[in-house]
């Protein structure tokens, strides 16, 4: 540390020195040459921490950083930056604050560097700020020590400043001297007298300067001989209800200098308030810490091309480049400073890439971008660079970009070249369907192709360097001795040969392969190349063919058809038998060994006679299959019926398949005879039946005809009898009227009965042939008509008639319906001697029901089952023909209806007729 000149001592006063010494933050003062002229205890300790000597030259601090600091500082600005010291591998973060120190001419003669370890709390940052301000003040006040006596007025104005400034917290202003006076105090919880006595104590020890640090609760004293009678100015700073520091300064009252002091205080006050209360500043500091950490500090000396770009009004401008830049791009500094970095663009990069770059570097949270870019040199040459950009933010806005350009053109070209070569090689290897292994002399995998990977399941990466033989060979067919010899001498008998062996895949499957191994040399390095082909499929096919052959041989031997395989020998002019199966031997009664190799016509003498030989000749020429059905083979030795099937093989051999159908033929003959016989019988029987049916029909017709003729014949005389009887009634001989009438009545009754019987029989014979004549009928009308017809008869027998008929309309043949009801009612009257006849009609959805019920003699179950039979009469002596109910049933059925009877002997009978409505 150099000795200060007298001039310099005026600025770096002993007072200044002593204050600096006491402050628990590293403080150093740097002169324009960058040398440290003053360091305090803490600073020394920081340097010690890094194992450096206390008189460490500040040049050791990164030059590039200093450049930045000095850039700012020597223009009168203060600067707060973050430093990262990496000495002996230990990284320590410091906040560095630089404060310019000016001389009387307001020129900056020194820079005060304040270092504070970042690991401490934010509180310390505050304290650091305060310390900085205090230092500044101390210097100014020191300057003001010479001079004037009257200060009251100035003090008043100072008070006014403090009063106006709400951020300043508690301020005491007091005057020292013969009559110490407290000019002003703001509330700190201390009473006026306390403060006053406190300063009085100082007054008693005139030559003492006290630095009072409330936060630490200790007093530090320092003797300063040059200080005598002073005014004391106490600055007490309060932040979040905590006192941060108290400083007592002593100076001779000098108006001009004090005015300066006031001015300085104003500045201090505003700075302090800014520092302490603006959270924004906190943020900025933290941001800067991050930015500067990443900042490249070896800017100029770096061999890497670097640019510093300023970002102003959304326009990037190069403000600094290093030598490497000039070398890389061929531009001189002049040509690029102040320009937009886009002059480097090649125009080959898609806009999107730049967009993405800008988005990243302008984003507060990213502020970084890396990528490969093709740029253009001044001479138009294209270069590929790896571009790394970091952004520095100031007051939340992007301010600087640090860009590193690493030339990777050649690298890219080489990479491209290598890739191309590799791709070519890989393409060649991978296009091979065979698995290819490249191995070294020690039989280790060096390279494999995709076919290999597919075949074995191993990926190239997992086997490179492993032993080929150990890993792959299933049989381990090269014994250890040979292997050892090979590894030693490179000689092995399988080289250049094709062998069949087996390999084990990753999932332990064994695959048969065809393997050929060859040696070749690259740069005097012997390599092995093995080509493997999976022959599993070939093996499988081979086995399959063998199995199939066996299979067909079995079929051939055990076929139910006789099979002969033969080929035509043009020299002999006959077919030579090549093979003959068991069945053929059986049918043709030859032995296999007898037949094979012989001419066909020699063994089977009859084949020409039946045309088989000719067919086989034709078949072998045309290639079409030939048939020979139902032929009778005979050769004097054997004979029988045969079916032949002849076809040509692709080998030009002919196959004859045949069957002995003699048995079947005989069976067919028998069957045919039997069938003819059976047919004849059926024909005859059918004829008989038809004849019988005809006879029956004729009989039926004759019967009907007879009945019709008979009834007609009966009708006419009956009619004459009845007509004349009617007239006879009027002609009774006088005196014998009673007997006359009785006889006439008897005749009449019997003739009437005869007539009824004839009518009924006639009706029945006609009924089956009659066509229904359906019409809409109101049922009640018919019931009334029937009732009217029969009421005299009922009255005569003293029977009641009851009617329960719903209004029903029905589609039916009116006359037949009347006939039906008439028959039922007359029947009921006939068999009822007392009680009633009831007629009922009910309507259902699709049917109607008509019932005739009586209280007559009724029927037994046996009787009931016969009543619809023609001419059936329960009592042969009862009147009637016995066909009335047969007619009823016929009419009902003709209408598609049905009839039901319920009867109880002695109680009565009920007939229910169901007819469809339509």
């Amino acid at each position: 540390m150099r000795i200060l000149t007298i001039e310099e001592k005026k600025i770096i006063t002993p007072l200044f020195k002593s204050i600096v010494e006491k402050i628990p933050i590293g403080i150093g003062v740097i002169d324009k040459s960058g040398d440290l002229v003053l360091t305090n205890k803490k600073m020394k300790r920081i340097f010690l921490y890094f194992g450096q000597k206390t008189n460490l030259n500040v040049r050791l601090v990164e030059e590039e950083l200093l450049q930045k600091i000095i850039n700012d500082i020597w223009t009168g600005k203060e600067s707060i930056i973050d430093l990262e010291f990496n000495i002996k591998g230990i990284i320590k973060n410091f906040k560095a604050i630089t404060v310019p120190i000016t001389n009387e001419k307001k020129e900056i003669s020194f820079v005060m560097l304040i270092l504070h370890e970042r690991t401490k709390e934010i509180q310390d940052i505050k304290r650091l700020s305060i310390a900085k301000e205090v230092m500044k003040t101390a210097k100014l006040i020191d300057i003001a020590l010479e001079g004037k006596e009257e200060v009251d007025e100035m003090l008043e104005s100072l008070v006014a400043v403090f009063r106006k400034n709400p951020y300043l917290g508690c301020v005491h202003i007091l005057k020292y001297g013969e009559n110490p006076k407290l000019y002003y105090y703001s509330s700190t919880g201390q009473s006026k007298s306390e403060i006053f006595s406190y300063y009085k104590k100082f007054h008693l020890k005139k030559d003492m300067l006290i630095v009072h640090d409330i936060t630490k609760g200790e007093y530090s004293q320092h003797r300063e001989t040059t200080v005598r009678s002073h005014f004391g100015l106490i600055l007490k700073l309060k932040y979040r209800n905590k006192d941060y520091g108290i400083l007592t300064l002593h100076f001779k009252p000098d108006v001009k200098l004090f005015l300066d002091a006031v001015k300085a205080f104003k500045e201090i006050a505003s700075n302090i308030s800014k520092m302490i209360y603006s959270k924004e500043i906190e943020k900025i500091e933290i941001e800067r810490l991050k930015e500067l950490k990443r900042m490249d500090i070896g800017f100029k000396a770096s061999a890497v091309c670097r640019l510093l770009v300023k970002y102003e009004n959304k326009e990037p401008k190069i403000i600094k480049v290093n030598d490497a830049f000039k070398k890389l791009y061929g531009y001189s500094e002049k040509e690029v400073i102040g320009k937009n970095p886009r002059i480097l663009k090649s125009g080959l990069i898609p806009k999107a890439k730049y967009k993405e770059m800008w988005r990243s570097i302008l984003d507060k949270n990213i502020r970084h971008w890396e990528g490969e870019i093709v740029n253009k040199r001044k001479n138009g040459e294209l270069i590929t660079v790896k571009l790394i950009i970091d952004t520095i933010f100031e007051n939340g806005e992007p301010k600087y970009f640090f860009a590193n350009h690493v030339d990777i053109t050649e690298q890219m070209r080489l990479l491209h070249e290598i890739n191309k070569q590799n791709e070519k090689l890989a393409a060649i290897l991978n296009s091979s369907l065979d698995a290819i292994i490249v191995g070294d002399r020690k039989l280790r995998f060096e390279m494999v192709n995709t076919s290999f990977e597919k075949m074995t399941g191993y990926s190239a990466s997992e086997i490179i360097g492993k032993d080929i033989h150990d890993l792959l060979m299933a049989k381990k067919d090269i014994n250890k001795k040979r292997l050892k010899k090979f590894k030693k001498t490179g000689k092995i008998d399988i080289l250049g040969k094709q062998v069949e062996t087996e390999i084990i895949t990753k999932d332990k499957k064994i695959i048969p392969v065809e393997l050929s191994v060859n040696k070749f040399k690259i740069d005097n390095d012997e390599k092995l190349v093995a080509i493997m082909r999976n022959i599993a499929e070939r093996k499988r096919l081979e086995n399959e063919i063998i199995a199939k052959e066996k299979f067909y041989q079995e079929i051939f031997e055990h076929s139910d058809d006789g099979i002969i395989v033969a080929y035509y020998d043009s020299k002999i002019g006959d077919f030579i038998i090549k093979d003959i199966n068991k069945r053929a031997c059986e049918i043709s009664k030859v032995r296999k060994e007898e037949a094979i190799g012989k001419a066909a016509r020699e063994i089977f003498k009859g084949i020409e006679k039946i045309g088989l030989y000719q067919k086989a000749r034709a078949g072998i020429q045309s290639g079409k299959a030939e048939y020979l059905h139902d032929v009778f083979y005979s050769d004097g030795r054997i004979s029988g019926w045969r079916d032949y099937y002849i076809f040509r093989l692709t080998t030009d051999e002919v196959v004859v398949m045949y069957r002995d159908i003699t048995e079947r033929k005989e069976m067919e003959k028998l069957k045919e005879n039997y069938r003819i016989k059976l047919e004849q019988e059926v024909k005859e029987k059918t004829q008989q039946i038809n004849q019988q049916l005809e006879q029956i029909e004729q009989l039926q017709k004759a019967k009907d005809e007879f009945i019709r003729n008979m009834t007609h014949e009966l009708k006419t005389p009956t009619s004459v009898i009845l007509t004349n009887l009617e007239m006879l009634k009027q002609m009774a001989p006088i005196g014998k009227e009673k007997e006359w009438l009785k006889m006439i009545e008897m005749l009449h009754r019997n003739a009437e009965r005869l007539k009824n019987s004839i009518d009924q029989i006639l009706n029945l014979t006609r009924l089956s042939a009659i066509q229904l004549n359906k019409e809409r009928i109101i049922l009640d009308d018919i019931v009334n008509q029937v009732y009217n017809d029969y009421s005299p008869l009922m009255m005569k027998k003293g029977l009641q008639f009851k009617k329960d008929v719903e209004p029903i309309v029905i589609m039916a043949d009116k006359n037949l319906l009347i006939l039906l009801l008439s028959n039922l009612v007359s029947n009921a009257i006939k068999f009822t001697n007392e009680g009633e006849i009831k007629l009922e009609a009910k309507s259902y959805d699709h049917t109607i029901m008509i019932a005739v019920e009586d209280t007559g003699i009724g029927m037994t179950e046996e009787e009931r089952s016969h009543i619809f039979e023609k001419f059936y009469k329960a009592d042969p002596n009862s009147p009637g023909t016995g066909i009335g109910l047969t007619i009823v049933k016929e009419i009902v059925e003709k209408h598609g209806g049905k009839i039901e009877v319920k009867s109880q002997k002695g109680k009565g009978t009920r007939f229910e007729i169901y007819l469809p409505r339509e």
Binding site: R708, H712, P717, S719, T723, E726
Partner: protein, 119 residues
Amino acid sequence: MKKILIIEDEADVAESIKMLLEMNGYKADYNLNPKAAIKKAKGYDLILLDIMMPVMSGREVLAEFKKMKLKVPVLVVTAVGMPFEVERELSAKYFPVRVLPKTSIHTDLIKEIKKILKE
């Protein structure tokens, strides 16, 4: 007095009907030969016609009547078939007629004639 012609091949039947009609106050003639009867037909108020006749059947007679466009009502008397069925058939084939079964002559003939003659 209304005049009725009876065309009936059987003399007994014809005679019986003639007597019955006359007893009931009609003037009746009968003709055993239908061909001769046809010629006389026009002069009557009603014709009683038998269907089954050997020389010329009642159907042929009706056909002749149809040809002649005879206006005289015809009551057909038959011993064959069901009367309503015969009536339906004949009325459809020739012209509307009434049919009476032979066996009902003694009870229904006079009633039927009265109906036809609207007496």
